[in-house]
Subunit: 311 residues, 2 copies
Amino acid sequence: MSLDRLIEKIEQTQNPSVAGLDPKLAYVPEYIKEKCFEKYGETLKGAAKALLEFNKGLIDALYDIVPAVKPQAAYYEMYGPAGVKTLYKTQEYARSKGMYVITDGKRNDIGTTMEAYAAAHLGKVQVGKETYEPFLGDALTVNGYLGSDGIKPLLATCRDNDKGIFVLVKTSNPSSGELQDKKIDGVTIYETMGRMCEEWGRDLPGVYGYSGVGAVVGATYPDQLKYLREKLPATFFLIPGYGAQGAGAKDIAGAFDKNGLGGIVNSSRGIMCAYQKEKCDEHEFAEAARREAIRMRDEIMGCVGKITLNK
Amino acid sequence: MSLDRLIEKIEQTQNPSVAGLDPKLAYVPEYIKEKCFEKYGETLKGAAKALLEFNKGLIDALYDIVPAVKPQAAYYEMYGPAGVKTLYKTQEYARSKGMYVITDGKRNDIGTTMEAYAAAHLGKVQVGKETYEPFLGDALTVNGYLGSDGIKPLLATCRDNDKGIFVLVKTSNPSSGELQDKKIDGVTIYETMGRMCEEWGRDLPGVYGYSGVGAVVGATYPDQLKYLREKLPATFFLIPGYGAQGAGAKDIAGAFDKNGLGGIVNSSRGIMCAYQKEKCDEHEFAEAARREAIRMRDEIMGCVGKITLNK
């Protein structure tokens, strides 16, 4: 009923990083696209199949050293219903390899509709006498702009299915301050949202000190990251903004506690496009991704030290 | 490049209401479910097919009197990739009948990812030499918590494809005030977000005085609705909360300008489940939906008066 399974995977791999799977067609090696277009035409289905093959190659190269993947829903929806099927198949493949799956959907709505999103991404649905998992995430990113009504329906689903959520608190983008940095009675909106995460998390306690309600806090705001780690002791952080968005290992150091826990750092383009950056043969995209994942792990672990599970 | 096409449909039908298509399996008549389960089994696909048949029946009953439909993405994602295909097919069918399609996805993210959502729901994507529309919405609901970075990528897509967006401003749920009613320098967050809509909308002017950047404002907060209509003269409102959530026609009166324009009122369960409320034969679900849509139209038009297009 929390993020414990994620934390255990992080400890096992000694790696607090997550591979973002945001597969633009431009990132996919030509030989994969050619093969899929030959079979399915230059269609949305052809594109979706190419993304899936690319993702599978990345997962094969990463699953033993990286604890989690974070597919970003937008890049799958971009290829229509066929693309969304690739999201499902990617989740399924990552799960089969033992990876923790964080679906980055930033979903939000009220009451009954949020229950539908919860069932869709973290729960089960019933059809007649049968029960199905519509999508295969272990955790889901969500947006808390609508207040408790938009979060509470998720908590029951998380409890019943051993899943977690990450609520947007301080996002990594340049304009995140336009709303999030504004102050209400002397307290920023991002801190207000963070305090709500602590509050919501009380319903989903974890055995390692972190609840099932995590927060998204950008690596591009290192001071806020450090500040929030102190203020939100039971809230685990999903940290975007490393690599392509400009933040480095020193920027994320403040996110971790004395046991080396407290956050997981995302890299999407850095890992997916490593073969383009290295200018190596595109057939080596998976090996290049693995090299970048190891480089990133070692860089982060240089700041974090050893990760231990103190109960 | 705005919501003009929606406004024209509202004037043609003299009906500022939108039918929310949030099809829970429990809303679907038994005979439709039985038929689909017989053909496809008690599977996610069977459920998705049942939802599609239900939606088509509703659209057939409504398209000549109701200007728009608003499918809520959550209820389709709830049935997995097959459910998402039903979202697409529902959009396609509504469009073929001339209805304006508002995809209620409340999507949000930063820069490049928001571009992916924009392409997915309001734009086009290229696959090799071919171009496709991944989904078929005319407008999309979005959440502005991430600031301008999360909205600006949408504006270019709206301009290029004659589409619009609705940004969450004051949502209809009981806890919407937890964050949205808090004040920054004496101004509520919902008004701050509303002012951003006016600002963003300058890039997408419309011929009837309303821009392509609308706002979601709940009917359950009539005072705020009236206040925001005065403060946000160029922002068209999508108004949830009528019917099942408790608001009536008098609550939405403040949303409209002297020409009877300014907002479109959503009813989902009220229309979809009219046959259950009427306790009529389930084979008459579509006729019951039409009766309720007419009742709602007449009730709203009793407050609004005649709708005219003054340029």
